[in-house]
């Protein structure tokens, strides 16, 4: 006797209840963010768009020479993204405001990996090539990378780039937060060191948050009351202060929940105790059993007639 319609719905209902039940009973998601990471605070009101950070980044990371010189400011006429040849880029935005010299007041925005506290790329990486280091760096280990590029899909800031031009030994390319320089050589990240106006302040994330809020508080007319990266996707190591609302500067409006929270909760509750494969294969088995019975019957009935 096969699976009739009534039984089928019965099983599906039981399975559905199991899904809902296990979702609640699964362990609550835990953040694995380091407690005292380093970070950088980018004050966009200070940035003068000199592109020295791009130049320093290129030098300290031994990246290939750019197509246009770092002193060529015409590149600012178009919007760029960090790519496999540049870990960081500066973009220029104008709000239409004009200064005393009748020039459009520009706001320069530095883009690089934000080094999230709970990085979606680390969560998505199936080979543990991307890891969140204790000092806050989201670190990439090329020897473990299998080139699946899930990190590129996962990143809410669309940062990781891939060396598509290199078919044999391609790498995922993104800002390293100068991990070696900071950890072993006790130096500053290349960009923070070279910045002529300290638009980039490097330090402990907790200190930087204090600095950021102090700056807003002591000069409320200069800044919008928002530290981008304080809460976005659960907090990032790179944070921004700005005079212009962030959404006008190409910043994505992101939820305060860490991205891996949802994906990992779904993933972990789906596979806890292997219940979902068991249910799935049980159901497939049931359907196969039922339909086999039916087709046998059909075949029996049409015997001799069909072929």
């Amino acid at each position: 006797m096969g699976l009739n319609r009534r039984d089928f719905f019965k099983y599906v209902t039981v399975a559905g209840a199991a899904v809902a039940g296990s979702g609640q009973s699964a362990q609550a998601w835990q953040s694995r963010a380091p407690s005292d990471p380093v970070g950088s605070l980018v004050d966009l009101t200070r940035c003068i768009g000199c592109r020295k950070c791009e130049e320093a980044c290129n030098r300290v990371n031994d990246l290939p020479a750019p197509d246009q010189s770092f002193e060529d400011y015409t590149v600012l006429n178009r919007k760029r993204r960090p790519d496999e040849r540049a870990y960081t880029v500066i973009n220029r935005y104008t709000s239409g405001m004009i200064d005393e010299r009748d020039q459009l007041v520009p706001t320069f925005v530095k883009l690089q990996c934000m080094h999230c506290q709970d990085p979606a790329c680390v969560s998505a990486c199936i080979a543990a090539a991307l890891t969140k280091k204790e000092n806050g760096t989201v670190h990439y280990d090329v020897t473990k990378c299998i080139g699946c590029r899930y990190c590129m899909v996962a990143c809410p800031f669309e940062i990781p780039a891939y060396e598509y031009h290199n078919p044999i030994t391609p790498k995922v390319m993104k800002c390293t937060f100068c991990y070696e320089r900071v950890q072993s050589q006790n130096k500053l990240p290349g960009c923070a060191e070279i910045c002529p106006v300290e638009a980039i302040t490097f330090g402990r994330r907790s200190d930087l948050l204090k600095v950021a809020h102090d700056r807003i508080k002591s000069n409320p007319g200069r800044y919008v009351d928002h530290v981008y990266g304080e809460r976005e996707v659960g907090g990032t190591s790179w944070m921004y202060l700005s005079a212009v609302p962030f959404e006008k500067l190409g910043f994505n409006t992101l939820p305060e929940q860490p991205i891996p929270r949802l994906s990992e909760t779904i993933q972990h509750s789906l596979f806890s105790y292997m219940w979902s494969p068991i249910v799935l294969f049980g159901m497939i088995g049931g359907v196969m059993w039922a339909s086999k019975d039916k087709s046998d019957r059909v075949e029996n009935g049409k015997k001799g007639g069909a072929s």
């Binding site: 246009q68 200064d99 923070a192 910045c195 002529p196 490097f202 330090g203 402990r204 200190d207 204090k210």
Partner: protein
């Protein structure tokens, strides 16, 4: 051939000036001319040596400064009778080892202290705080308070480099007077081109141009957009070219590649 000489030199100058416009004399002298004695004509200001010595000093770090508003400070300086006439040095070379430790991209800024003081007539504009220490001078150097960036104990104290840049550029912008670009204050450290140029003993003019273009490719591309290259009209006022209708490097120059 006779005519191409100046053209080549002109183009080289153009290419190099376009690129190293902060040190054209140096760069061009290295490459084009057979070394006109650069060293001999160097003139140094009489106070240059003293300024160099001052620039090399690192003064003790000032931990705390007196917290007073700009107006209070201006008034206090006025009350003390301190003004522009009291300055001891008129010229500073901004070349502190604090910055040199990490940077070597630009030459030091030559800062005319007296001129800036004379124009602004306000010491407190730059000397915005005084050390809490009573024995310290009323106005101290920038580098007394601003040294290494990102010090944990002084999170809002700018490093020396940023303090200079923010102060100078900020004020120049505000006053709408004075340079706000890199080369306006700094001479760029142009690398010595002697080792970079790879030419045979008696190169053809076109070889020289192509050697320049090997590194300075955009300079060549810029040239192609310039009137030098694109000019096609008559040139009635140029000697020997009065009757020629077509001019411009694109049409008549020998090495117009």
């Amino acid at each position: 051939m006779i005519r191409t000489g100046p053209v080549i030199i002109g183009f080289m100058m153009f290419a190099l000036v376009g690129f190293c416009w902060c040190g054209p004399a140096l760069a061009a002298a290295d490459v084009t001319a057979p070394k006109p004695s650069v060293e001999k004509v160097v003139w140094t200001a009489p106070d240059q040596e003293a300024a160099k010595k001052r620039a090399a000093q690192v003064v003790p770090f000032v931990e705390a400064v007196m917290d007073e508003c700009r107006l209070c400070r201006q008034q206090r300086l006025r009350d003390m009778g301190l003004n522009v006439k009291d300055q001891t040095e008129s010229y500073y070379l901004l070349n502190s080892p604090i910055i040199r430790k990490t940077e070597d991209h630009y030459g030091p800024v030559r800062f005319m202290h007296a001129k800036h003081a004379g124009v602004t007539k306000d010491c407190a504009l730059c000397h915005h705080y005084r050390p809490v220490d009573d024995t310290a001078m009323e106005t101290t150097r920038c580098s007394a308070c601003h040294q290494k960036p990102f010090q944990k104990d002084h999170p809002e104290r700018l490093g020396l480099k940023a303090a200079y840049h923010q102060q100078c550029m900020g004020c120049h912008k505000e006053m709408n007077n004075g340079p706000i670009d890199c080369a306006g204050c700094h001479r760029k450290n142009v690398p010595d081109h002697k080792d970079k140029i790879n030419l045979a003993a008696n190169p053809e003019p076109s070889q020289v141009t192509s050697e320049c273009l090997r590194c300075h490719k955009p300079a060549g591309e810029d040239m192609l957009k310039s009137a030098h290259w694109l000019w096609k009209g008559p040139s009635p006022y140029t000697l020997k070219h009065r009757k020629e209708v077509e001019l411009g490097k694109a049409t008549i120059a020998t090495n117009n590649f």
